[in-house]
């Protein structure tokens, strides 16, 4: 879940969600902030044998081996590594017992989204991504897809 917060404004109270915005290729994706552990400079992972293409390999994070998954490849979207001029980062996400590094084209920071601003999945992100979205939200960075990180990591594990 996404650390719901109740606003302290004078009007009727409305739940807001704190989401971490990342750009993954052309897509703006929103991750619950409490499922984002760290944002790291991207480095080339050590490749692993006998794994599918979306498993890029291992990097050392906090003195532990961290598996790095190319979720853009898994979701059949434009690669996060292909965009020139961007500042690629690896976002460390954790959902349940699974912790994974995910290369992103850019890490944009935290956005707050009111519950009423969360729209149903429109299909704009394509059917593959749409299956892992909890909804879509307008943000200052554009329309983002709110990722169900736990479902995505569970599907991508190998």
């Amino acid at each position: 879940m996404s650390a719901p917060v109740t606003t302290a404004s004078a009007g009727p109270r409305e739940e807001t969600h704190s989401l971490f915005a990342v750009r993954l290729g052309d897509d703006l994706l929103l991750l619950p902030v409490d499922e984002v552990l760290a944002v790291l400079p991207s480095e080339a992972p050590t490749p692993l044998p006998r794994v599918p293409p979306h498993v890029l390999g291992l990097v050392n994070h906090d003195h532990r081996a961290l598996a790095v998954f190319d979720l853009a490849a898994f979701l059949e979207r434009a690669s996060a590594r292909a965009e020139a001029g961007a500042r690629p980062r690896t976002v460390v996400v954790k959902a349940g017992s699974l912790t994974v590094g995910v290369p992103v084209t850019a890490a944009l920071g935290v956005v707050s989204v009111r519950a009423s601003e969360v729209k149903p999945v429109s299909g704009a992100f394509g059917p593959r991504v749409g299956g892992f979205l909890r909804g879509e939200c307008e943000t200052r960075h554009g329309v983002g897809g709110w990722l169900d990180v736990a479902a995505l990591l569970e599907a991508a594990r190998v």
Binding site: L48, R50, V51, L58, A65, A67, V158
Partner: protein, 134 residues
């Protein structure tokens, strides 16, 4: 007498590049060259499982306790020994669990800039194929 800590574990390591494999030294009976292999044996190429090139003249082979009679693991040319602190051996990340189980990855540790995957010999041995010594 070894001056290593009692919490250290010894491994025979092999493989080329940034990822290799490690066999627990306690399970290694002996390491031999190709000309010391028995005429008929079962062989499993760890080097090839980990992406190293095909066998070369100086390739070494390990006979292991739990692998069965006349079963040898091909180590490649770069076989060596490492002593590793027990707490430096990590579990394979859980998101790789199915792959780790299939290919008998029992753990992982850093070896300089490289990673070494600890191989569960008994689990991997059934994949060994019957060969004649070359």
């Amino acid at each position: 007498m070894s001056d290593e800590s009692s919490s250290d574990r010894a491994f025979v390591v092999g493989g080329e590049g940034p990822l290799g494999f490690a066999l627990p030294m306690a399970e290694v009976v002996r390491v031999v060259s190709a000309d010391a292999l028995p005429p008929r044996h079962r062989r499993l190429s760890l080097a090839r499982l980990f992406g190293a090139p095909a066998e070369r003249p100086a390739t070494r082979y390990a006979e292991m306790k739990d692998a069965g009679v006349d079963t040898y693991f091909e180590l490649g040319e770069a076989a060596d020994v490492r002593h590793v602190a027990a707490d430096a051996i990590e579990a394979v990340p859980l998101c790789l669990f199915t792959t780790a189980r299939r290919w008998a990855w029992a753990g992982i540790f850093r070896d300089g800039a490289a990673y070494r995957v600890v191989v569960d010999v008994a689990a991997l041995a059934p994949l060994a194929a019957e060969r004649g010594a070359s």
